[in-house]
Symmetry: C2
Subunit: 380 residues, 2 copies
């Protein structure tokens, strides 16, 4: 129950361990087509360039930046947590200039500040921000931010690593242009792949580049040739065959449950966890309007030893929760309820375990009251 990787269901691990076949085998090529279709459903898009990058989410982020940016570009980058800073690194390593829009860690991206940044930098070609900040548990208004980019003739790059499958994400309806995610959060697949999707406008920008993409491995024109379209597939790299089996299975599971049902489940378990934590006397660190149901930031009560509590959970309950990051380090815990791990059982386990760990440090909390509050939500 940390910030990911989330627990991987047996069905996905079983798929992972199927015999490795050749990456040019006709059966595997069929699987690649299925994965594209299933990813389009997960992203709610008809973008034909919708594929998993053969590396973790950080590489998916880099794929978006190196393909869309050219040296000299101006990019508005929103930072309200760890990953905005990483975006800045990516922009600068592309030889582009990052105009930073800063918000407090724990707050969503301010659309007003972004509008002001566009007004001050009409030359900006791209807006980059994080939909669901894994470091803070905050959701930003992706539809509004993408609309701002579009209104200023810019393309949007959106980090959906933690949102995909857990909360609403409408790539087409919201007009997001380059979107990357990870497999190890709400998809409950193993880490190692980064689903990405590029809008027609993003593809047009890629196809009109005058300078080659600085990364050969992440060059989407080459990746497009490999994942196929009209023409014959061209060998680019050896796909991580088994991890793709696992992604296929986890995407099938998401489609079987249905996106809306998955979102509703994440929301319900989140409300139950919050009710339980609050009944215990703990406080959430993020305003209710911006909370991610899949990643819950809880304030560490005064006098409680952060690492000690996490150690008790890990060694006595086999339960991992995440530490706070940056300005929130030592002040918050990050409790994940992601994908397959977003269950009533995990809500109950976490509340019970926290009750014991806090009592160990002399903070008397009523686990009974917490469980009753959580169960009331789960039963509703």
């Amino acid at each position: 129950m940390g910030p990911g990787p989330s627990d991987v269901p047996d069905r996905v691990l079983g798929a992972l361990a199927r015999p490795t076949i050749g990456h040019l085998d006709p059966l595997f090529v069929g699987l690649m087509d299925d994965i594209k279709t299933l990813l389009q459903y997960a992203f709610q898009t008809t973008n034909s360039l919708t594929v998993p990058v053969s590396a973790p989410g950080s590489a998916g982020m880099e794929a978006c930046f190196v393909n869309l940016l050219s040296p000299g570009d101006t990019v508005i980058v929103c930072r309200n947590g760890v990953f905005g800073g990483r975006m800045q690194e990516n922009v600068e390593r592309c030889g582009a200039t990052a105009i930073m829009v800063e918000d407090e860690w724990g707050e969503p991206v301010s659309a007003a500040k972004v509008a002001a940044a566009f007004a001050a930098h009409p030359e900006a070609t791209t807006l980059a921000f994080v939909h669901a900040e894994t470091s803070t548990g905050v959701r930003s208004d992706t539809a509004a931010l993408c609309a701002l980019a579009r209104d200023h003739g810019a393309l949007s790059i959106v980090d959906t690593v933690t949102s995909l499958g857990g909360i609403e994400l409408q790539v087409d309806a919201w007009g997001a242009d380059a979107v990357y995610s990870g497999t190890q959060k709400c998809l409950s697949c193993v880490p190692g792949l980064s689903p990405v999707t590029f809008s027609p406008a993003a593809v047009a920008r890629i196809n009109s580049r005058t300078q080659k993409v600085q990364s050969w491995f992440l060059d989407m024109q080459l990746v497009m040739g490999y994942w196929g379209g009209e023409s014959k597939r061209a060998y680019h790299h050896t796909a991580p065959i088994n991890t793709l089996y696992a992604l296929h299975e986890s995407l099938l599971m998401l489609r079987e449950e249905g996106l809306e049902a998955s979102h509703a489940r994440h929301h319900r378990n989140h409300l139950a966890l919050v009710a339980g934590l609050e009944a215990m006397g703990l406080e959430m660190a993020v305003a209710a309007s911006h909370r991610l149901p899949q990643l819950n930031l809880v304030r560490i009560p005064p006098g409680i030893d952060d690492a000690g509590v996490r150690q008790t959970l890990l060694t006595e309950f086999n339960l991992e929760i995440g530490a706070g990051l940056g300005a929130l380090a030592g002040k918050t815990w990050r409790i994940g309820l992601m994908g397959h791990a977003s269950t009533a059982t995990n809500v109950t386990l976490c509340l019970s375990a926290l009750g014991v760990a806090l009592a160990r440090q002399g903070l008397a909390v009523s686990t009974e009251r917490a469980l009753a509050a959580a169960n009331a939500v789960l039963a509703s």
Copy 2:
């Protein structure tokens, strides 16, 4: 029995499917240390920067180039197959100049030509070449080429994707500076990781860079911080946990067998296959002195339909062999005997199946004689 991915043993698939734990879990951190030690054994090196890049071999190649090169550098690149061309792409995308040393596909890299290139380009900082060319089945003299680089004050970048575990590879004794490999060839692990190792001289060059590495994901200074040394591990990206379980298992298997025994097994099965193919009247496409035992290039006899034979093998014998590439396309097959798949059984299966497929196209070959020749080698 193609050019890779090779068959993955059940023991490795079983490790792959173990429950996913957190990438910061103390147990996982211990596994990372074990993997480093096992990789040092496989590479025959004491280099402390010896880690698996969290992406396929192509990304390992890119990691070597983007970390060692800076814009304006001159690099001597040897091309005697597909992967030399890919190296050229990498050099140019780093803003460096590639001086190409060309050899025929099917021939090893000529040390004399490399010496001439260094004489003509004393400003060259780096020499890049392929130890075992997957596209042609040719081995080049890595010790001699690394010595040439050293003699000219240059660092060497060596592609060992297909050699690691299958033939002798002495990173320290040969003085190779930046070496990358893949997991899906002679290690018989699933694809998706690229073991790399950097010599102290390579690390010194990385640490003295004045310009950031253009790839954030592949920046070895950041990767070093994650894979640890003296200091605390710093989060860089989410490691592909399960694939690392599999790599750990396959490296354990290699150490259990022993490098020399593994090389001897690859060599014996190769000799048996060649004896069988020649007894069948087929010809090898590479001179005996340069042949890779793990990847056997066979000339397609006149009048035989390349794709038809491979189709028969695949559909009737569940056996994949590789097509020729580039100038060798349609003229050769590439038969892999890699890692776990380098067995007497596979030699026999391949000879028998080829006998049927060739007979189907009207070429009468004596499978009986081929099997006798192969078995004579296997029994010796």
